[in-house]
Subunit: 340 residues, 3 copies
């Protein structure tokens, strides 16, 4: 469904610089776009591709607009404007409705007439499925769980009992919500499982990635706030609380009862120890381990830089005696001061 | 099903201090419990909530009992006593029995009459399912695999061929046991898969977390001992051997043929290199990498502390020349000694 | 199906030293092999088991052959020769063909007559399934996806839309290919999902491990080259490109738009930051974080060595002031030079 640049500018609410009668029908990267494509520049690393782009139109920040050889849609937030344009050019498929004959829906479950329950799904007793919710193939919804309006469970998603999703929550394939937390009491040398009696409460506009796991609470609920975005293969343990609009990249692990603030970002592979608290607006860089509460907003890091292996071996071994080294330096320093 | 405190004390085999006629019907945290709830104190971090708790009764260690404003169940192991109380107040649902009509069970599989095979399950040829075993929706059991008495496969669990579970094994949703190990021989620049011919042998009372993976052995079996507890998103490679009562937290990765001893704990995100051996009673703190065998019990750690990013940048770059720094200090030290 | 050593040597194309009329029927480790078993030595750590092995025959490198107490198959690549022998002694089951009655195959999907679609599978509109492809139980194939000849999807595999697999691709249980990438534009304090419009293109002879996730591209495809081997629980983000014959061990995370070269190896738990490029023949050791492009082949490492916890606490705290330490050493050094 091609659109003129004038139509696009109008729908996006941004300024067009260039021929409003031109049409685009698709989107592409700056480097590979042709005259039918809309492109964008949001990451400075790709700026070199702007000068030679053959795109039909490019979404650019005001300061980049002058460098474009082709028409420009000027936006203070080019990435968001691009996202909106992509949604206009590629509208998501209309929601399906009904229950696939192979799906098993308990008689006591309430499924909105506008929702879609896909093939091989299993919806247990007392579950509630909201308006226009879309369950892809082989999704499981546990007893008494509630799925809000316009949620999407893509495929092979598992919701166990007592899970509540707000509106517009998306779960990617293989995501598990409501598994039992890792709570065990030591008795002699054995571990005895502690009953996990809480649920999971997920707000509106939350995205949860493929094969990510979110455990139910032990007593109270595990809570994920509105607008939280979680990538693939993330582990969220029991009774974790995540504040609104926090974004969590792939392979992060959050231990039990940790509380993460609002508008935080956890980069890939970060680990959070249990029973601590991270305040709002904290950013943790990739693969850092957080072992204490963080009370001040800011960016935090841990880890060692990559080196050629031979150099690393020489340096890493010195970390075993870093304290001794520091003591020696102090001794030397005192000696120097004394002899000055 | 409310119980009097006297009844509870009796069933738990612990001392009650307070009014035995009072009743509780639920459990809650110290901070949020009301008069109908049993609470407990097991983690010192929450001790401040004891003085003001409104719980009906609290499970406490003897040394904490005097500080409680409400009746106390005195236990040397409050967390274990709480777990038992929670199981009494919230008994697990009675096991189901039978085979759901949508399940596919091969004619040559033996399913105990007291077991439950849930909707959409597939049980392959020669599989054996023990007494009272409970297979939730969409679980797969491979050829010749054996599931012991009272096992629970919650949902979307995959057991491939030649997997043997002892009694009372629980597998959380998305767990995979018996996938092919990552064994490959290099031929020129290509990797040729090496047939993975072993199985997986899992003992009694083992718990395996959501989306955790356990590979089959290459030749001999991968072995998980009695009482081992494994959290979510853990990777156990082929021919790993894990000793009894070892507990493994989320996101741990254990490489091929590593042997972990008994009563060990691996905290979240730990990585274990292949073909090494960790003795009994070893504890590894979060996100540490183990690259050599450990022959003495104790607690081991690796990793660097979290810092504000600007401080980290200054420090991290110095790790590249730590060896040089150490050499300089040695030189300075010798110089100082010589000039004393 | 027992074979004589002469037959085996002939089929493997290697030299036999010993009695060609002896027969073996199975494979085993050096330590546990009996007279009916073929064993091999590929890892020096196990060499001590050679002298006392009771195997029927051992595959050995020429330099080890003289130490064997039993017949030897001499190979320059014992592990590859063993793999081939194991395939001869344990040929994989003949491929099944047909569509299980419980599988749901869209009318517009093209399934080769020699392929097998297992129980509970769902094959969506426009999908194409190649010759002899084997779909195990509960696998999902999205709209328009193409599965090449001789592919194997073992169980509970999810392929979303626009995924293309070459020939002889194997996906272990729980693998997800084609999930939406983690692309979001910040608008105020909220994150707006960016439509993920690309697909995934996977070459020939690729293996993908259990519960591994591969996201579709945002605009262009995510690309995995021929012969790439990926272990369990790996996360491959949108628009990653992985070169031919690269091997990626368990729990690795690769962020968006990273490009990995050919013949690289990423050991367990490695993390790769987004939008960077790693050249061919780069090897990254376990749990290292890669934050910059790597332009020279070689082996690279990061991380700190494991220590007893008390020693680690003393040393780790010093990392917070490493820069200050280095400055002091420089000052001392200058002082010493000046006073010499």
């Amino acid at each position: 469904m091609p659109l003129t640049l004038a139509q696009l500018a109008d729908r996006l609410g941004v300024e067009l610089r260039g021929d409003g009668a031109r049409r685009v029908r698709s989107v592409a990267t700056l480097a590979h776009a042709g005259p039918d494509d809309l492109a964008f520049l949001a990451n400075r690393a790709y700026r070199r591709f702007l000068l030679t782009t053959r795109a039909g139109v490019v979404v650019l920040a005001p300061e980049d607009a002058q460098f474009s050889p082709v028409p420009v849609l000027v936006s203070d937030n080019p990435y968001a404007t691009y996202a909106e344009a992509a949604r206009i050019l590629f509208p998501p498929p209309a929601p399906k409705r009904g229950i696939h004959p192979s799906a098993l829906v308990d008689d006591s479950a309430q499924v909105d007439a506008s929702a879609w329950i896909g093939p091989q799904c299993v919806v247990a007793a007392g579950a509630v499925i909201g308006a226009r919710a879309q369950l892809g193939p082989a999704c499981l919804v546990g007893e008494g769980s509630r799925i809000g309006d316009d949620c999407r469970l893509l495929a092979h998603v598992t919701l166990m009992d007592k899970v509540r999703l707000g509106a517009r929550v998306t779960l990617q394939p293989g995501a598990v919500v409501g598994s039992d937390g890792f709570g065990m009491a030591k008795v002699g040398e054995a571990w005895k499982p502690v009953p996990q009696l809480g649920g999971v409460r997920i707000g509106d506009d939350v995205d949860i990635g493929a094969n990510t796991t979110v455990d139910r609470g032990a007593l109270e609920d595990t809570v994920i706030g509105d607008g939280v975005k979680i990538d693939n293969q993330v582990q969220v343990a029991h009774n974790v609380v995540i504040g609104e609009h926090t974004a969590i990249a792939g392979c992060v692990g959050i231990s039990g009862s940790a509380r993460i603030g609002r508008r935080c970002t956890l980069a890939g592979g970060v680990g959070i120890v249990g029973h601590l608290e991270i305040t709002d607006d904290v950013h943790i860089t990739a693969m850092s381990m957080v072992t204490r509460s963080i009370t001040r907003p800011g960016t935090y890091s841990a880890g060692t830089p990559l080196m050629p292996n031979t150099q690393w071996r020489r340096n890493a071994v010195r970390m075993r005696s870093l304290d001794e080294l520091a003591r020696e330096v102090k001794e030397l320093y005192n000696h120097m001061l004394f002899n000055k």
